[in-house]
Amino acid sequence: MAVATRAITEPRIEPVTLTGGEIMCEALVQEGVRVLFGYPGGAIMPFYDALYNCPELHHVLVRHEQGATHAADGYARATGKVGVCAATSGPGATNMVTGLANAFMDSVPIVAITGQVARPAIGKDSFQETDVIGVTMPITKHNILVRSADEVGAAIHEAFAIARSGRPGPVVVDVPKDVQFERATYQAHVHQLPTLFPGDAEHERLLLHAAAMIDAARKPLIMAGHGVILSGAYDALRRLAERTGVPVITTLLGLSAFPESHPLSLGMPGMHGPASTNHAINEADLILAAGMRFDDRVTGKISEFAPNAQVIHIDIEAAELEKVVPTAVPIHGDAREMLERLVERVCQNDHGDWLARIRSWEQPMPVVRDGLPQPVEILQSIKRATGGKAVLVTDVGQHQMWSARHYGYDLPNSHITSGGSGTMGFALPAAMGVKFGLPEAQVWVVAGDGGFQMNIQELATIADEGLEIKAVVMNNGYLGMVRQWQKFFHGGRYSATPISSPNYILLAQAYGLQGRKVDRADELEEAIDWAARTPGCTIVDVAIEQERNVYPMIPSGLSVASMIEDPDVCRGQDDG
């Protein structure tokens, strides 16, 4: 069917006649897919039947469809390719909703294929019928209900093109069961979407303007986000920072875009960023933001965010520009290309005094000796045991903030976490996708005892697939971050936050895996080393202090002036 679109399609192979289910498989193969995560059911059976005869596609049977979406998400984040997951209609598809929302918030390209009831049954409240298009519309970049078998191939190729183009995101392809049975002619397409950036001359004008502002600034900062990783702009970012001497802040999803051991690295901004980094933002006269979106966890109170700074904002999505903060130079473009061109247009510079001023605000980590393993020591042990080569997949909560603050990410794209959506239960299934994407990598899950239990069923998938994933549970017996908020903002009333855990050693054994428990600081190092050298998946359950808080903390909606600091950090430091 001829449809007006902005896209260009080119035929790739000779037409063949196949069933809809076979076309789905063939189109995935044509898109370069080798692994997909899914769970079969009634309305997707013809696709699974075709998969049976498709050796090119390795199907990973997850234990819950949410796990499939997170695994596809982890695969995509680790590789930069489109992750794929599949589920049946109704509950199969609705179980994917959280994972789709998570991928949408963090700009992760995944294609989710869902079965739908047969065309004549649509709209009749049929068994396992859900309006998946309606349900997923606000949490996907796009979704497509396929109406006939001759649309299947084009729909899948379009889905991949949309998922990976521009700012990436999830796309759902909903295929009615009778369409999967129907035969049609399939011709593989290369589906390309045009880039809608402003012209080269406009870019040039903006970049020259930006370069002049960077050269003139006295207290400049770079804020790098996920877009730097997505566009592979590591080298350009580093060259720009080194040439201009501008310190680099990395947002939660920007962590590992810039080596944290670099003298110009200032780490993470915002709610749980170090005080010195937030003070720097407060005093900066220029912020060059690349591939980030000024999330409220970064800015706090907008009217008091970076009150002295002019903003240059590079983003691949025009709608992100001027969405949150007033922007002097909005640049709609790819982070890598724009940063590479910017490097050529700025002058060599040095901001040693400014950097020294920021460093003077840094506070020492309080040393706690209570005999318990310390969160920071857990992270340092992992780094030591892996020679700094680990890819850390974290969940959501206190351990996530400790990992973001204290691991020290040097390896590009070595930090995988659920950012915008804050999805507990993300880490374990996401790590499966990371491991499939990077089979040689040392993949470590760091999770809390709450989040780890949220998709714990995926241990079975990990065992089936023999995945070498090392899981460390920071176990404080609480939903720690919620408990911390209860402590600070709800009078210390710990409503529904104490949480028990199973015996993780026995649990590991039940799945045919191995586990260790660490109760004392002096057992930690050995247990982490054991995990690193033990083949297969291991779980290390580490008891940490129950009521440890993440410091510093800027309460939601407030500014750096309202920062809650660690009471253990020595007081009386000079503010300048």
Binding site: V3, T9, G134, A319, K323
Partner: protein
């Protein structure tokens, strides 16, 4: 029969409000996606028409927003939708028209008077009975406001009125026609 003063009725709020024209691929869910985006992002849309075009697979909308400063963000977000082909601002140069159908009470002896009134507005009667007249009118929002005010004394029984639709006087699209691809 009607007060002179009503000729200068206040224009409707959207008579000259900022507006956007958009073209979209006419397929299942496209309209849904556009409306859902507008609701989700809380954009203040005060008027909307959905239109057909000379191309069967290209639909068209005119959206009226409350404040000009919302135009850019609304346009940028709409452009993210794969179904949206083109988004442009309705500038002063574009033609805007609203369309209305109005059923009034009109006795035969009042017809001549009403007809004269209609012709002054470029409107016409498209249905006549011994009691009722259905009027068809199009024009700028303020013109229809004035017409409605003049018809009110006869007794407006029922009316249907669109928000404006808009069209450029000259082509601003460099490549001309949107081309359908296979």
């Amino acid at each position: 029969m009607y007060a002179e003063g009503k000729m200068t009725a206040e224009p409707t709020r959207d008579a000259g409000l900022p507006a956007i024209m958009l073209l979209f691929t006419q397929r299942t869910g496209a309209l849904d996606r556009i409306l859902s985006l507008l609701r989700r992002r809380g954009f203040p849309i005060v008027g909307m028409t959905v239109e057909r075009t000379h191309q069967a697979d290209v639909g068209r909308m005119t959206l009226v927003v409350e404040q000009a400063k919302a135009l850019e963000q609304v346009s940028r977000h709409l452009r993210k939708l794969p179904d949206v082909l083109e988004v442009t601002t309705v500038d002063e140069d574009a033609i805007r028209r609203e369309y209305a159908l109005v059923r009034i009470r009109c006795r035969p002896q009042e017809r001549a008077e009403v007809m004269a009134l209609l012709s002054a507005y470029g409107a016409r009667a498209i249905s006549l009975t011994s009691i009722y007249m259905v009027v068809e009118a199009s024009g700028l929002g303020m013109e229809l406001d004035a017409l409605f005010a003049e018809l009110a004394p006869y007794g407006i029984e029922e009316s249907a009125r669109t928000s404006p639709m808009a069209l450029r006087r000259v082509s601003e699209r460099p490549e001309g026609e949107l081309t359908a691809t296979a």
